[in-house]
Symmetry: C2
Subunit: 755 residues, 2 copies
């Protein structure tokens, strides 16, 4: 009811302000230059249609109302233009960030509501920026490899220009030619130059930072109709080649192979499936400049056919990104990803709306748009809001999906196995640029949006100034990137590729097979042969729905073969509280670290023991559900309880737990495990249901060069076996194998059958 | 839509089965004895009204439908009657527990739906119990101080009889006299005797266990019309007096002063305000037998006027209990309380419905009933469902409330200070029977239902067999009950009353004042003089809404005076991750425990340092909100970061953190602190708002026998002072005090004003 009244007011307001539409500048005075604006994101035709629909499309009207309230409050409180001095999280940083967001929004409001209040606000603020920028030195904070002027790093300056270009486009016609000249000459052009020609180490790369730079330069170029800037955006700075061995703050190569510009930035980091090499967290961050500049190019330079570039990879990438989220819409925190980032982020509003409008009007996207509860205030947002209004939304169904990595899709990938509420993320990708972690063949596990086995994510509190200025903390390198911080094998307490980017960035794992045809058995297998020279690792995950089990269970089989004897550590970063372990262990009376380097210095050893049976069973309780890990083991294995937090004087790390299977002095071996989710506990009824594992026995019953087979006996006495073909990436080859005098025949990668 | 169809089916079904109403027993054969049934919880008149309303009262119909589906499924799967052998969490325990719940529900369904299927189910199962019980020895598990026969402890046997009495009442008329004689002679009477005359150590006490026993004996007595059993329920076993020095499993006295029976159990543990001495978790548990037996007594023996007993304390206690919950309805885990227990528990459905029906039809209760989404299938449930249907529900508003403890309200109490989203629970109560913790003047803090400063609660996983059979873990005594586990002062590393129940149970703290008149300032003050002989402690909490602060902040002032020099440890069990501390501290490279006994052996020392300014500031992030503790300190104080989990080989304890202010070698002192909640962080927008404390300086500016005054200077430079009257429990006395040559005059307990 309240909303309806507000809308009526809004519509009334629109009608009212419409009367004085061209007060300041009669239509006949509009030049041909001006006739093209707005053209970047909003278009003249689009604005006409939006105005015609105002007050009739709830999701659009609501988004408009929220924006209007926000901008009105800012206008009310007046423009703040502090001299830049802070890191992110600090006042001047956050203020200028808010300024550019408000400029973009106010520009849009001016177009849609046709109220000069907004145009004047944009104009006034731009003039103040012009006044300040003219004399602005480099930002005083020196930590960045490419310092900005408004912000401590060029990256944020580029953010500013991406948004402000849109604002400028919206009020282009509102300004006199003289005013435009002033802004372009003293503000926009030098601004674009600073983040490009003056900062090639930032601009002239294939990197998410550069994508922002390219988009910034290109978008202001499109508004100013400056072909040189547009070309610089698309193809990079002419004639500039960087030192190919130089590195950036994050340890990544500045420009390994000399590529640069927006098109190269589409070409390189996206696989043909739309997977972005740094992972979903950074894809989300990069998504906005990719898409908003693409939308601008589509509108101003339709002949470029940007949305068809590389077989439509930009739109494909949106689908990939949405699939890289859990049941709650939170992105899997692969590589440097901050947990909690989700498709509710505004960049994903852009992505969903653009994907719907410029793609194939997938009705599943409308469901996500409804959850996001807002749309872009442009043609695409209107289309989405209309789709929702007209009841076209259908559920966005996430199924198992395999996403190749690498520009040509040949550098491993990420496989997501989904079966009922269980989601398993299997990472066998390439390094992931400077934000990559040394975690070949790692995995994380989710149930209904909750973490069961976590990927730690990054060690950073983005934009929280108290924590290292909101930037990467040193524990990101000493802990979060290290192999032992992940659910995969660490050999001899050293990280994959010795933890060296120069080696890691040259290598990737390889998929053996990914098979989701049988809805009961979702399975994938991949190999890693470079992480530890001389050692080959193959890991297979299956998520199996079996009628004798309450829920789908996870099979995890790792086969390691090596030229030498090694120590293999396999951690499981379970979430929750330990319930029971079926083995004896010692609890130290003083806590010491598990090791000295490579992340081990951050782990406290809370217990160590050995198994006295063939199966180690370890169970825990998390978020009202019971879990059990069953793993084939022997008395030779060390079974270690550890906890993150050692050598962490600033409390930068979470005190989360892990359970590590350590196999010492071993050359070739198989780690075979099953993870079950079972039953439930209610803290309200205090009823524990199905609180125990359903597995009586787990065995490796066969292993040779070509096949591995395990048997799973359940409590009812039924035994199933899973046979894997180690060397068969086709899915129609016939196989035959004798195990314990029984012959098994099957076609394809695997056989799950009665023993 | 689906529900509607189901309801129509249900109503049709009712009409159908109604036709064969008295198939097995013609009405004319009903004896006068029979004419009285059902009479215990359901009544003949009530059943008539319920049947008349079926299908027209949504909340009631829905509750009925859920119950029917549940019982039908059980009938379908057949009766299971295992020979008792397990502890709670095990199969036989959980099965017999489910049986009695099903019996009660099936009995009710028989009455409401008039379908003999349910009566036969109850009859068959009761006959099987009769058959088994005749020959049943004591339960084989020996851990309990009072073993049952169906269950390992009499308590659970009593649970069984409370439920089964209701079932028996429902099918009383369905059975032949011969069948009833068989059941009463071989099952009910010996069952009631076993849990009472044969187990006086269980039955003959003032304790929640005994309340269940009394209700069980009384309810079956009411159904059987056995005056001896009814008297035994109300007044205890005639002529039995227990050893007054004997103790139970939990360390509580079996029967300190010889009182027993249901009425004594109302008399003793409830204060006149309705506070139950063991705290809300156990009140919730005891609530069901109190209320269901009371309802039975009201129906069968109205002349007892049980709901008016002790000035209507039973109904008052429901209001107290609801007020002892946070914004989400979770009970504050005072004493031995398992977190997560809430007013969604079925005992609270009983409580809310009975309170509404037998009390004053508080429309706030209807809102809770709506949240609970179910009602009792009896007269009271029908009344609530009708109230909801008729739109009478209003919000249940929780305000600051003071609840006295002790039979006469003279043994301290619990004060809850509420101000906007902040809730502070101040415990200055008596020992709390055998479930009490040694935590005089402790507190816990909540914001919008989330813990800010936690009360640890108990060390137990109720009904989770893997954890010590679901029973109390030894860490409950070595950790959870100890003083250092709470947000209050530990002197010389020993718990209050030396951690001895025999001393603790004789003492209580005393309220000085509780003042919630001014909505901006909610304040309470209490004293403890017995916890440490020779030492007096006074603690005052205020939750103040000041226009210069974003949210209400908490003032915490503790004044300690002692005859000797001591070490005082004041821990704050903050929830969340450390952001920043303004003092230097050492981080040990090896973790050692903070001490050897009294709970200290369970704390790892993660850091220790000293302040180099007058104010220690410590900030943390929790659930997207920022918090800062500011406390007046000096370089003499040790500032300790510690974490729970040492000497915990079974991982029974949560690895939660604490920050401890340690003041050594000190006789008299004041701990003055402010806790602020401020700002927010979003993991989606990555925006940090108002992430810093608003306090520039905190000082103790005056302290003598009569007054303590602190000053709080905020970042804008405004300084307020809070003056407390240490010895004034009236609220209209005039005070006058000169501080720094300025005279302050006020009336009442405190003065909050400009400096």
């Amino acid at each position: 009811m309240k909303n309806t009244i507000k809308l009526i007011t809004l519509v009334a307001l629109i009608s009212f302000v419409s009367c004085k539409q061209t007060d300041s500048k009669p239509a006949e005075n509009i030049t041909s230059e001006e006739s093209n604006h707005p053209s970047l994101i909003l278009t003249k035709q689009g604005v006409k249609e939006i105005r015609a629909q105002l007050g009739t499309v709830p999701l659009f009207d609501k988004s408009l109302e929220v924006t209007k309230a926000e901008v009105d409050a800012e206008i009310e409180s007046g423009i703040q233009m502090p001299i830049p001095k802070d890191y992110s999280g600090g006042y001047t940083h956050e203020r200028h960030k808010k300024n550019f967001i408000m400029l973009q929004k106010a520009g849009v409001l001016y177009q849609i509501l046709d109220d000069e209040k907004y145009a004047n606000y944009v104009k006034d603020m731009l003039m103040q920026y012009e006044e300040m920028y003219k004399t602005l030195p480099l930002h005083p904070k020196t930590r960045s490899y490419a310092r900005g002027k408004l912000f401590w790093q060029c990256l944020n300056d580029a953010n500013w220009l991406v948004y402000v270009s849109q604002a400028y486009d919206c009020i282009y016609n509102f300004l006199t030619e003289e005013e435009r000249n002033k802004l372009e000459t003293n503000l926009f052009k030098p601004f674009a130059d600073h983040i490009s020609v003056d900062s090639p180490q930032f601009y002239q790369r294939v990197h998410n930072h550069s994508t922002w730079g390219n988009a910034a330069v290109g978008m202001i170029g499109l508004v100013m109709n400056d072909q040189e800037l547009i070309d610089r955006a698309l193809y990079g700075i002419k004639g500039v080649n960087l030192d190919r061995e130089a590195k950036d703050d994050d340890g990544g190569f500045l420009n390994k192979d000399g590529k640069a510009g927006f098109l190269a930035n589409i070409e390189e980091p996206f696989s043909p499936d739309g997977y972005y090499n740094e992972g979903p967290y950074y894809q989300r961050y990069a998504m906005y400049p990719f898409l908003i500049f693409a939308e601008g190019l589509h509108n101003v330079k339709p002949e470029l056919k940007i949305f068809e570039y590389k077989e439509g990879v930009l739109l494909k990438s949106i689908n990939a990104l949405l699939n890289l989220s859990d049941a709650d819409g939170d992105f899997f925190p692969l590589n440097d990803g901050q947990k909690g980032m989700s498709y509710y982020n505004s960049a994903l509003v852009t992505a969903v709306d653009i994907s719907y409008y410029f793609g194939e009007q997938d009705p599943g996207l409308l469901t996500i748009a409804k959850e996001q509860d807002r749309v872009l205030l442009d043609d695409s947002g209107l289309a989405v809001a209309l789709g929702v209004k007209n009841g076209k939304a259908k559920p966005f169904e996430k199924k198992s999906i395999n996403l190749s990595d690498g520009p040509e899709g040949k550098q491993g990938g990420v496989g997501i196995l989904r079966n009922e509420d269980i989601e398993l993320v299997f990472k066998y990708a390439a390094q992931g640029s400077s934000h990559g972690h040394y975690d070949k063949l790692s995995f994380s596990l989710y149930e209904d949006g909750d973490e069961v086995m976590q990927d730690y994510g990054l060690a950073r509190f983005v934009n929280i100034e108290q924590k290292g200025g909101g930037n990467y903390l040193k524990e990101n390198k000493t802990w979060a990137k290290q192999t032992i911080a992940h659910n995969t094998i660490t050999q001899n307490e050293t990280s994959h590729f010795e933890g060296k980017y120069s080696i890691g960035s040259k290598n990737h794992s390889d998929l053996l097979f990914f098979d989701s045809k049988n809805p009961e058995i979702q399975i994938a297998s991949a190999k890693e042969t470079n992480a530890y020279p001389g050692t080959e690792m193959q890991r297979t995950f299956a998520v199996i729905k079996d009628e004798n089990f309450e829920k789908p269970f996870v099979v995890d089989i790792i086969s390691v073969t090596s030229k030498a004897k090694n120590q293999y550590d396999l951690p499981y970063y379970y979430m929750g509280q330990v319930l029971q372990a079926n083995f004896k262990y010692e609890s130290p009376s003083v806590l010491k670290t598990l090791g000295k380097n490579n992340g081990y210095q951050h782990l406290w050893e809370e217990g160590i023991g050995q198994s006295n049976s063939d199966n180690v069973k370890f169970s825990w309780l998390n978020k009202n559900k019971f879990y059990t890990l069953t793993t084939v083991s022997s008395a030779k294995d060390d079974l270690i309880f550890a906890r993150i937090g050692a050598n962490d004087p600033e409390f930068n790390l979470r005190r989360d737990a892990t359970f590590i299977v350590r196999r010492k002095n071993t050359q070739n071996t198989i780690f075979a495990s099953v993870i079950e989710s079972h039953g439930s506990y209610s803290f309200v009824s205090e009823l524990a249901v199905n609180s125990k594992s359903n597995i009586a026995n787990l065995k490796v019953i066969h292993s040779d060069e070509n096949y591995i087979a395990i048997s799973i006996e359940d409590l009812k006495g039924t035994t199933k076996i899973l046979i894997l073909s180690n060397n068969d990436s086709s899915n129609n080859k016939e196989h035959k194998l004798e195990i314990n005098k029984k012959t098994y025949q099957w076609i394809g990668h695997y056989n799950y059958t009665n023993y």
